[in-house]
Structures are given as C-alpha cells and as structure tokens.
C-alpha cells in the first residue's frame, strides 16, 4: 500500500465535566488513503466525532484536552497545530461537514457569503470573485437557481439544501480530505441518498479522501472502502468493508450486524439488540470495555485490556478471542449474507 495521506496514531482525548474526567478517546490509530472513503462507525458517545474533531482542532478547550497522539498529514503533525507554515489547513486541505446543517450555518449571514468566506481566507479572492465562485460551487452541489439561492439565508433553505450548501462550502478550496460527521443523520431518508450520491460523485471527480462518520451501517456499506468500528473510545475492529461485513472478527461488530434490519422475505428473523449500555467513561473498566455485554466474554476479558491483533489482509481486532494463546482461537465466524440497513441506536 502507498503512503497514507493522513496517519493518526495513539490519539487520546479527555474532557473535564461536571461529573469528573471523561476519557472520550483512548488510543486511536488509523490511516486514511488518498481517494478512499474511510468510515468510522459506532454508537453514540463512542468517541468517533471527538476523534475527527481533535484532528480539526475543534475540541473546545477547556473542557477538552488532547493528552497524546499525532496526526500526520503528508508527513507533518497537524494535531494541536493551528497552522502549518502560516497556513490554516482547516478548510483548505481538509474540509468538514456536520450533522445538523440547520444549526451549522450562521443564521445572520447569507449562504453565498458563508461559502465565499472560505475562498477569501484561503485563496485571497476578492469579495465579488469569491461570491461568483460560491455560486458555481452551489451549482456543483446541484442546488437549483444557485444565483438566487446564494443571496438567501439559512432559514430559507430546507435541511437537504443546507447540507448541499455545507458540502459546497467544504469543497470550496478543493481539499484532499473531506470529513463528513454524520452528514445524513438529521435528514429524511430520501434526501440522505441524494446527499450520499453527491458525496460519491464529488469524490470521483476530485479524488478526495472522505472520512465518513456514521452510526448507520447502511451508509457504511454504500460508501466505505475501509471501516473502523469504534467502541468506548477505542477502535475495536478495522478492515475493508467486505471484511467487516462478511468476516466480522469482533463480537461487537457481530452484535451490530445482528441488530441490523434485513429484507429477508421470510420475515421471521427478529432483530437482536445488544443488551446493556456502553461503559462509563468516567471510569473505564480495566479489561475490555465490551466485556459486560459480550456473549463470548472470557475470564481474561474482565481484567486485561485486549491488544490489537492483526488478522488477514490488513484486518485487525482488539479482542482476546483472536489471541494466539487462546486455545479456541479460530477463524472468525462466517457471517450470514445480509443486506445492510439502518442500525438502530
């Protein structure tokens, strides 16, 4: 494999809260390849958003704190650095879109100006030139009547249109990486598909890498090349989309898949939820965070944190089941073929 575009290693983030210190991210490492889509999947509060927000320097501090880690973008550590060679990489080399487009845009500024702002900051465009470019970008994001729309305010847009405008804003400077933090969660299902198509088209046209954060396995199956499964602030399994869906190695991934609705025509199969809830990150358990909910938990899981164990072809899992010393260590369960769909949180 070629050198990764972005390489994150041993990222740890803490938050001071009313109830104590929350260890939101506990040693996350992964690589992003140019032109590929890396999906980070997991349930709410597992640290997936915090991971990408720390890369973007968006962790509010205080209360947030990055305690360790590096994020190498083409060989330069961008973690904690506001600028590189005096240039802010945010918005320029990495673009980002957010979950709730209704609140993520400035309500008192028109859409065109908000897009133009990126170009003024990074490209030094003049106001009118930037605004013209903003209209082109809106057209590229398939917003009809872009000329008129650019002069409108966020409250005059629908959610889907706003997310298109957000995408236009994020790609304004033709970034190498686009981070999409739950880009479709707040949208209607029909709009979701359109937004995902748009992202896919833009990626093909520009060869961008996309880091896609979602809790929707359907979205993962549709978009991703690489998949990272996060649980309780750690990556528990990592692999290609096929490996994750068809050769799941971690019991959590298996649980997620079992909790996914299918369109099995017999209709007899019930959804099986994962019992319990994630561990309290004020006080992370000494062993594996998934142990209390794991149907295959072993004695060692409760006391010893599992190491990352490399499996075939780049797949890896943080689970004792695959430890070479485990007498029962076997090939991961073969997954039943199923259609991806929405994961119920």
């Amino acid at each position: 494999m070629s050198d990764p575009l972005l390489s994150i290693s041993d990222l740890r983030v803490e938050f001071d809260t009313y109830g104590g210190i929350v260890q939101a991210v506990r040693g996350v490492s992964f690589d992003v390849q140019a032109g590929q889509t890396t999906a980070i999947v997991g349930e709410s509060g597992c640290g997936k958003s915090v991971t990408v927000q720390s890369v973007m320097g968006l962790i509010p501090s205080p209360p947030g704190r990055i305690t360790s880690g590096r994020a190498m973008l083409r060989g330069t550590n961008i973690l904690g650095a506001k600028t590189i060679n005096g240039q802010d990489i945010r918005g320029d080399q990495i673009g980002m879109i957010f979950q709730d487009p209704m609140t993520s845009l400035n309500p008192t500024m028109n859409i065109g100006s908000q897009i133009a702002e990126t170009l003024i900051v990074h490209r030094g465009y003049g106001k009118s030139r930037a605004f013209q470019r903003a209209i082109e970008l809106l057209e590229m994001s398939k917003i009809p009547e872009a000329e008129k729309r650019a002069r409108q305010y966020p409250f005059e847009f629908s959610g889907g249109m706003l997310q298109r405008a957000m995408i236009a804003m994020a790609i304004a400077c033709e970034p190498d990486i686009l981070i999409a933090d739950e880009p479709t969660t707040a949208l209607d299902v029909t709009i979701q598909a359109q937004i995902l198509d748009l992202l896919g088209d833009l990626q093909r046209e520009r060869g961008m890498a996309i880091i896609l954060i979602t809790h929707d396995l359907g979205v993962v199956a549709r978009m991703a090349d690489e998949v990272l499964v996060m649980y309780a602030g750690q990556i528990v399994e990592q692999g290609s989309v096929d490996q994750i869906f068809y050769h799941s190695a971690h019991p959590y991934t298996l649980g997620l898949r079992a909790a996914m609705p299918t369109n099995d025509p017999s209709g007899s199969k019930r959804l099986s939820p994962i019992d319990g809830s994630p561990p309290d990150l004020f006080n992370p358990p000494p062993g594996c965070g998934y142990c209390p909910r794991c149907p295959q938990a072993m004695k060692i899981c409760a006391g010893e944190p599992p190491p990352v164990i490399a499996l075939d072809q780049g797949q890896s899992a943080r689970c004792w089941l695959h430890h070479p010393d485990n007498p029962a260590a076997a090939k991961p369960n073969q997954a039943p073929t199923g259609q991806p769909g929405a994961m119920d949180e």
Partner: protein, 310 residues
Amino acid sequence: MLQYTVKRLILGIITVWFIATATFFGMHAVPGDPLTTDKALSPTIRKNLEEKYGLDKPLVTQYGIYLANLARGDFGISFTQENREVNDIIAEHFPVSATLGILAVIFAAVGGVLWGALTALYRNRLPDTIIMFLVILGISVPSFVVAALGQLSLVNLNQITGTSILPVGGWGTVWHMIVPSLVLGLSTMAYLTRLMRSSMLEIVNADFVRTAKAKGVPATQIFSRHQLRNAILPVITVLGPQIAIITTGGFVVEIIFAIPGLGRYFVQAVQQLDYTVIMGTTVFYGAFLVFMVILVDLIYGLIDPRVRLE
C-alpha cells in the same frame, strides 16, 4: 418588513391610547374634583381650565375632549403656573432629558457589548472574575445611590485637587453631561454586560462557530463576523425596556445633579399635584417609551434576517 412596521405602529398607537385612557380615568378617580381640592387656584387658571376641559360636562364628554386634544398633540395647561402650556414645558425640558438619556444608552450599550464579549472570551479567568464582580455590584446598587455617591466623590475629587475637574451639578456644557450620563447608564451597562456574556458563551459553542473554525476562518474574523453579530441579538431585544429604565432613572439623576430636565419637572409636578402636567408628561413619556420599543424592534429586524424577511 413594511407590513411589520405598519402593524407595530398601529399596535403602538393603540397602546398609547390605552395609556392615555388609564391616565385619564386614573386621575379622575382621585377622591373629589381635582380642581376643588386643597389647592386654591387663581381665577384665571380656573377659567382657562374650565374652558379647556369642559369640567361642568359629564365625564364621557370630558374624555372625548381630552382625546381630541391629545390627538392634536395638545397636552393642556399647567395647574400651578398661569398660562403655561404643558407642551411648552415638554418642549423646553425634554431635549435636556433626551440628551442625557441618549448619552446614557450609548454608553450602556457600547460598554455592555464590549465588556460582555470580553468576559466571555476570558471566561473564568481573572478579567472575567473582576468584571463580573463589578457587574453584580452595578446591578445591586440603586441608581440614586450611584448618582449620590458619584456626586460625593466628584466633590471630594475637586476638593483634593483644589480645582474643578468636572462640574458637580447643573447643565450646559459637555463637561456637565459626562458624570450624570455615566451614572445613569451604569446599571443598564452592568445588566447588558451580563446578558452579552451569557449570550456570547452560548455562541462560542454554537455549531456555526464550529463550522467557521473548520473553514479555517481566523479567530478575530470569527469573533467579528459570526459571534458578535449573533450574540448581540438578545442584547438588542432588551434594549427597549432598558431605555424605559434609563428614562425613569433619569428622574433621580436630574434631581441629584440639578439638571433642568423633564424628569425633574415631572417629580416636582407630582409633588405639587399639578394634575395636567402629570397627565401630560405621563402620556408623553408613555408614548415615547412605546415608540422607542418599536424602534428597537425595527433595528432588531435589520440585523436579524429571520425577522426582516418574514
């Protein structure tokens, strides 16, 4: 926007009518005829009043005459000063009060926004703690105490230095205006500072500020273009009622600093039971405040597109 303005103005006129009516019937509920009670009126005034208000006619007719006069902008004649029209009194004294009030409002608004933004940016650090302590103090000390203590310290300052740095009372030059308007605007400034701070704190973590950061917009530009403009909105909404507070607060400041404003005159009229002046100034002040609130709301509309375009 035009429709909104017209609607607000019509509502404002109805409110003024309500104030006028409440004032009229309130004053006529005073036990006994206001003209025949304790005060011995000079025959000239009595004759003028009877002609003007039709005091021998039934109350409803009087009310009609009163409203007709008001509609023409005629507030009546003073009870205690012969042939002095309330309109003349307002025309003479209101500009002074208005100057004082406008200076105080400007001082309060500019100060409140700046201090509020500053404390929010330095949240929980030393400047924030110090300013917020002063703010709490500013909210808790009544305006008349601030005014009196302000004057007292001015007197002492002049005495210690042996020169007259600033005049301790009176009106006329710019120097006379400084201390009274500072004193008058102080509590409003404290209130606005608090409001601005909490509004800024909410905006600091708003999603759209995060978006601006993700775009790589420099911090100063995020502050001026994204945070300030949105954080200022709640401050503007309370500016209308705060103008009312500054206006009435002006009464005591005018008394203490011996400023010949309408407020001082109003308090005097109340003490002398000069009914027409009381009624006239109340309705005038009421109308003034109602339209100030409307004006502030219209300014709000200019800043917030959600109001402007709906």
